[in-house]
């Protein structure tokens, strides 16, 4: 079966996000009252699978996220 998958990978609490800091500063310099800007990694793809949950879990643990520094979440929807 075909699925539409979205995976979001975020830095664990307490870890600094240099890219987020720099972009946050840039937006504030442009005059916007922005706070806490983060830049999570975001993946979108189609997956052909009979066990999508299991496979997406594995993909996150094995490749898409680094368990030392990342938390992850995902959503899986059937493709009509």
């Amino acid at each position: 079966m075909k699925w539409k998958v979205t995976v979001i990978v975020r830095l664990k609490e307490g870890l600094n996000d240099p890219e987020g800091r720099v972009i946050g500063n840039a937006l504030r310099n442009l005059g916007y009252a922005v706070e806490n800007l983060r830049v999570p990694k975001h993946f979108e793809f189609e997956l052909e699978s009979e066990e999508p949950e299991e496979e997406v879990e594995e993909m996150c643990r094995k490749l898409l996220a680094n368990p030392l520094i990342h938390d992850y979440e995902y959503s899986i929807e059937p493709v009509s």
């Binding site: 870890l15 600094n16 240099p18 720099v22 490749l63 680094n66 030392l68 520094i69």
Partner: protein, 223 residues
Amino acid sequence: MVRFAVVVFPGTNCDFETERAIRKAGAEAERVWYKTSLKDYDGVVLPGGFSYADYLRAGAIAARQEIMDKVREFAREGRPVLGICNGFQILTETGLLPGALRPNRIPRFLCRWVHLRVNDVETPFTSLYEPGEVIRMPIAHAEGNYYVDDPSKVRTVFQYSDGKGNVSEEANPNGSVLNIAAIVNERGNVLGTMPHPERASDRFLGSEDGLRLFRSMVEWARR
């Protein structure tokens, strides 16, 4: 003569000069394409560059290639395994070294020479240095910010320092915890370094401080 494999992934780009430096240090060295087998080598070197263009995370995709199973075997057998820059990133992604190399505190690529204080001369790679010696090598990376949960558990080999050996915040180019620039595993046979020793192996290029790392590694492999 001892033989080292210099593994080349798609996007690796420091392999030629790394091979040259190992040869200068007195061993045979061969560039090995990541799809070929690692047969009879005495040690493995993962050179610097941009394997897979640093997509996803630096070193992440290279770390999941089949050849890394063989590199793990080398490490288990106690042979020397050296990861330089992207190679260090690959070793942490593989779990052969603790921690992770994150984006620099100032998120930009930075190429410059740094001073390093040598902390641990009991490793196969650093026996030709003096404890506390200050050496010079260039760094060139955007993701060299070393992070680990518990730095006290890490065997630190080089720390970024000033010219006098002071491990200060000013001397830290990328935000690495404790100014860590290079580490070894507990056993001491796997070393990861963000600074490039192969770029400091020729007096015309600025220093031969890096050559001693290769010489040390070659000498140890001979025994």
